[in-house]
Subunit: 385 residues, 2 copies
């Protein structure tokens, strides 16, 4: 499992003292080759953290030797000092690994505005400790070191046709489009060139991580990185590889959704018969971001009126008086009016399914989200303290 | 105070049995002339309730004789039967008042999907009772009859240069752009023609009710109606009237914000030095809708990083590394980095002021919102039950 499942990858996770809890907080993932192909997608937030600004430059040439990740501080809006910290982190890891700093990606997560000299010192020491502990079975330790409010480490792996893909993810709050407060590292020993890796990553994230919208808030630090080393010696069938990468990304996205801060329901909003996929995504996202709908699901209340009110804020093609809404298999609204009684809907299971039939075409999409709970408010009302 | 403050208006509020609490739930406001000028603005939600669909037609000719309002049921997504109910409500009021049904506006608020035969019967009986109790001092009773989760009746009045404007509003949740779950009736005895009334109403609502965004959720039933009868015999100076109408609308918007469901902070987000007003509104709204920011304010946490993360989701002109953020008078972020210590910010007062300096121009705007609290989640998780 995890990022060390494919051949030719090493990882480690160590305690650097960034977290007040004393839990692991610095991870390093190294690609031992033979190829050093890397691709990444980043938050679409215009307010980007220093590690994002650094890493965007690193991946431009399609070569990535290593990924350094830390929890316990986002190093975002920490001024020029903060950008130097990201730069120094990459340089320090590169020196220790004997590679170029320009091939080391840096990822940070934690409180925005935190990243002072103490932070920098701990990160650099953590990198040194982690490089000293790199091993081919360090994937689990790395996954644990990137956890923030996550309650479980999130790792996956799949083997097909002689090649393997592994992955780890962290993220539990601020999950949103153009990604979420998620840090994800995917590794594979399949032979891919940089253009293929980039295209395959975009295809997979577009249908998985980009459709996870836990609380509508877009992070400053999100990054999904794919490393490919060709150590298996096998050129994958690209369609087969794309399907596997998407499946595995979807599995990680599901894990992120299941572990979202304070959530008591994991809600899948499936939009069918949309005129096009963009409409389906827009409608699903509008419902996923509607606080009234989300609070109703928390209260096990099949309040379909709030679904229709949310759809009405979109520009999608639909007739508000010809939409059907199903909740957990019960059609509660037909053609813009009440259908089955609310009492028939059982919303007590954690997994919740809302089906919206727009009757406008043949496209479909599913958005994953969570309910709005007391625990969500509690966890996010004292994050900085 | 209230809608009967100007000359030539009568109102009433009665118990029709729509609310399970037995509180007043049907109101009628009648314009006794001499002029019967009316203008209204409606929710921009594409999923519109039956009373909205009805009332949009009524106001087209600029003539409104009366407004019938009910709480205890939104009559939204109740099928063709529901539209007939709105129509019958107007007809019944018109018959009793000796006017045309096409000049009677109908407003409803309550649960979406509720509006069956029992509802219709109670509304029609309530209209009859209310018309029987119409009086020139019925404004307060009317304001009480439109309350839902409001804790106080919201009324205002102002007299200037021989003419008077009065108003009442209800709304406590689902406050959002393109209006909110708000029903507002404004009355005046100034002499205005229909075009003037419409233009003045748009000008006032655009800067007040449209900038109230309590929870980002747009209602299906919102309506603000202005009635003008010229009973004072005075043609107002239009600039003076516009200023008074805007001031009074702002006061009602402030009352709605102060009474928002479950809120513990009334937050004013003031955006200054924006390139244009549209940018200022977009930035203010993005922050107002950020659940993480709103939860932080609930926890008295001056988490300015979440403000910058929210700004980053907009298309406004700004440099994320050259933005200043103030909270309750303390500059917590300068040029994209930490400034004064968080400890200096006192967020315990209910009135909260966030100042965002975009350093991109000379425009400004203020958006009113609320924090995200346990009580908000609680009130909205069992609304239907």
């Amino acid at each position: 499992m995890s990022v060390t499942a494919p051949q030719g990858f090493e990882a480690a996770g160590v305690v650097a003292g960034l977290k007040s809890t004393g839990k692991p907080d610095v991870a390093v993932v190294v690609n031992r080759g033979p190829r050093k192909v890397g691709a990444a997608v980043f938050t679409s937030n215009r307010s980007k953290a220093n590690p994002i600004i650094w890493s965007q430059e690193v991946v431009k040439d399609g070569v990535v030797e290593a990924v350094v990740l830390n929890s316990g501080g986002a190093n975002c809006f920490t001024g020029a000092f903060g950008f130097q910290t990201s730069h120094l982190t990459a340089e320090h890891a590169a020196d220790l690994l004997g590679v170029s700093a320009g091939d080391v990606v840096v990822c940070s997560t934690g409180l925005i505005g935190s990243g002072d000299e103490v932070f920098r010192g701990k990160v650099l020491a953590g990198v040194e400790a982690a490089v000293g502990q790199l091993s081919a079975d360090g994937g689990q330790a790395a996954a644990e070191a990137i956890m923030t409010t996550d309650t479980v480490a999130k790792t996956v792996a799949v083997t097909r046709s002689g090649w393997t893909i592994g992955g780890m993810a962290k993220g539990a709050g601020m999950l949103a489009p153009g990604l979420a407060t998620m840090l994800v590292v995917l590794t594979t020993d399949a032979e891919l060139d940089a253009a293929e890796a980039h295209a395959l990553l975009l295809r997979a994230t577009g249908q998985t991580f980009d459709r996870l919208d836990s609380d509508g808030c877009m992070s400053t630090n999100d990054q999904v990185t794919l490393l490919a080393n060709g150590a298996s010696g096998i050129r994958p069938d690209l369609d087969e590889f794309a399907a596997a990468l998407t499946e595995l990304s979807d599995e990680l996205a599901r894990m992120l959704q299941d572990d979202a801060e304070g959530a008591s329901h994991a809600i899948s909003i499936e939009v069918v018969h949309a005129q096009d996929e963009q409409d389906a995504v827009e409608v699903g996202r509008a419902v996923a971001r509607n606080n009234l709908f989300k609070a109703a699901i928390f209260g096990n209340d099949p309040n379909w009126g709030r679904v229709l009110a949310a759809i009405g804020t979109t520009a999608a093609v639909f007739d508000p008086y010809d939409v059907d809404v199903w909740m957990n298999g019960v059609r509660v609204c037909t053609a813009g009016g009440p259908d089955r009684p609310r009492e028939e809907v059982d919303l007590t299971p954690r997994a919740t399914h809302v089906l919206i039939d727009l009757k406008a075409g043949e496209a479909a999409a599913t958005i994953r989200t969570n309910d709005l709970t007391h625990d969500y408010v509690h966890e996010n009302s004292a994050y900085a303290s």
